[in-house]
């Protein structure tokens, strides 16, 4: 894990100084984060990066985890799916199990923060402790796409949410009408991680050699797990339209979960559609192969993300960071990252994707310019240091209701 000072090589020392200045305004405040797990999952991963950096900046930031048994987490998993819009059968007994475990956590968990950040629905009922903590500020941090939630679950959670001082969402599209303040904190990538750091050319070449990918033909790449929503077959169709005019290669790389039968089926279908085209490389990359993913992205001529549905689309962020020209579907968080024709090309169909790829392959200067703009956009907006800045500003916002705040 990199130290805060190491990020100055990426974003400049003035940005780090700005963070230190903001952190100084939070002297004496204790920030307590609470979620449902210390390991595994995006929230735990995010907190494991953010909490030490905030501490290093001098903000007294802590992280605690609620307890819960199988029945509790079964219900919260169902909540999670239902908030994503998937129909779920949730019985009154299940709601009861949620309430029971929540009460145990309310009774047993020590809440001590001046600022309480409660992550996702599992610990949401802890807000009941607010009454016994006068002066404390509470924010509910929702990491889930709740743009079309199941109303049954949403209506159950709403009375809890309304008691918070504010809510935080990861996309403007997730923002519901609420009587409390809502803030936007977009996801970010860590430029110093194995997946995003600069790589020596030898490392990139070694990965290409390992997978027998040629360097003398343009490479079109989509990185994502094998999932119908990522439309790998649509990507192959787009590639075939491009291939009619330009001799190129296609890489489809990502994880396949062995315990997910659908993922294995998508992988098999994709292989079948690819047939015996030796220029199509379908690569099941095991989890933890961050350097390989990094190398494949850096070796690519064009990166594609032809998802039918998408969360934020961090693979797009990663590609933009590597200054690659990107063609991506206008869905989920992708339009937040790509301004069409400014730093990438948005598409809505196989034909649109193919046309955009051809334009980029035929106009390398244009592609280069889009890539450079993409890199700068990520540097300004989607780097971990911006995430830290947003966290600090959020904490400060809890004490300032105005639109312009002179610190």
């Amino acid at each position: 894990m990199a130290k805060i000072s190491e990020y100055s090589s990426v974003v400049g020392s003035s940005t780090i100084e700005e963070l230190q200045l903001l952190a100084g305004k939070l002297q004496g405040k204790v920030v307590q984060n609470i979620n449902s797990t210390a390991t595994g999952g995006g929230v735990a991963e995010l907190l494991s990066r953010i909490v030490p950096l905030l501490q290093e900046l001098g903000v007294n930031t802590r992280w605690d985890v609620i307890k819960g048994g199988e029945s509790f987490f079964n219900v919260t998993k169902k909540f999670h799916n239902a908030l994503h819009g998937r129909p779920e059968e949730i019985s009154p007994q299940m709601f009861e199990a949620f309430t029971e475990t929540s009460q145990q956590n309310i009774d047993e968990l020590k809440a001590y923060g001046d600022i309480m950040i409660i992550h996702d629905p599992q610990p949401i009922a802890l807000i009941k402790k607010k009454l016994s903590m006068p002066g404390s500020k509470w924010a509910w941090r929702c990491h889930i796409d709740i743009s079309s939630p199941d109303t049954h679950v949403w209506n159950f959670l709403k009375p809890f949410i309304h008691q918070y001082d504010s809510a935080i969402f990861s996309s403007p599209n997730f923002s519901p009408a609420l009587p409390i303040r809502q803030f936007l904190i977009l996801p970010s990538i860590d430029p110093l991680s194995d997946k995003n750091k600069d790589l020596p050319q030898e490392t990139i070449d070694a990965v290409l050699e390992k997978y027998q990918i040629r360097k003398d033909k343009p490479i079109i790449t989509q990185i994502s797990r094998f999932d119908y929503l990522k439309d790998p077959i649509g990507v192959i169709e787009a590639y075939r339209l491009v291939k009619k005019r330009i001799d190129c290669q296609l890489i489809l790389a990502g994880g396949t979960a062995t315990d997910d039968p659908e993922s294995s089926k998508v992988f098999a279908d994709t292989k079948e559609i690819a047939g015996n085209d030796t220029d199509i490389h379908i690569l099941p990359v095991p989890s933890g192969s961050d350097t390989e993913i990094n190398a494949l992205q850096r070796a690519s001529t064009v990166i594609i993300q032809k998802s039918l549905r998408e969360g934020f689309g961090l693979t797009v962020t990663e590609a933009l960071w590597k200054a690659k020209p990107v063609v991506a579907s206008s869905t989920g968080g992708i339009p937040l990252q790509i301004r069409h024709k400014y730093n990438g090309l948005l598409c809505h169909s196989v034909f649109g994707a193919a046309l955009s790829i051809k334009q980029l392959l035929h106009n390398p200067e244009y592609a280069k310019r889009l890539g450079e703009n993409g890199h700068e956009l990520v540097k300004q907006n989607f780097i971990l240091t911006r995430h830290l800045k947003d966290c600090l500003l959020l904490f400060l916002c809890m004490y300032h209701p105005d639109d312009i705040i002179h610190l």
Binding site: L184, Q380, L393, L407
Partner: protein, 237 residues
Amino acid sequence: MNVLGKAKEPFIFSTQVSLTELTGLKATNLQQLLDLIKTVPGSIIYHHTHHFLQEHQYLLPEPPNDFAYWVTEFLGEARLGEYLLSIDTIQYTTIRELRDKIARTIEDYVKDYPTSLNKFATTGEEFRFLKSVSFVLQTPHKASDLKEFKTALQKVTPGSLYFHMFEARLRIRQGINDFSKWLEDCLSENKLANKIAALDPYTYTLENLRFTIIKLVEKRIAESLKEHPVIPEALPK
């Protein structure tokens, strides 16, 4: 005035950082967009006409407002997009005036092209109204004469430049940028103040704006040195 002359009061550089507040408000067609533009708080109009400047600091400065981008890309109304794009933001000294101009532009367009009201953005592509919460902090950088001013301009963050040129003019002082005000009031550098005030900062990237202001200051320093050459003191015999 001699460039070595000291200002009545030093210029203290501040910087500005902001957090985006969500409102839950959205528009799917031109009528909804127009109705909300007319009624939402000024901080929302400010966000959608200014956040691009800070988020895209090194890019070409287009498109300068989200309304133009959305009607073009998601409603397919390129002509209206161009009208909104070409609103000369620098002309307006208050958010209220800017808001009125944007609303009038859409109203006029809808009158001329009533079928434009029938176009709807698809789910996920609605216009989401957002708001900027700005935090202003003092930096350690300050200047008491033109040379120090130039040196500090080279060092401060883009957020600082943004604050003194945009936020101060439109949201705080309403009418003039901080640099011109200080140059005029504290250094009597009226000509230089006017030159900076006459720039259209909306058509520069922040880095190009920084470069342009520094060039103007350098030019003034060179002129001043010509008018008032620094004569080395005579050596004692």
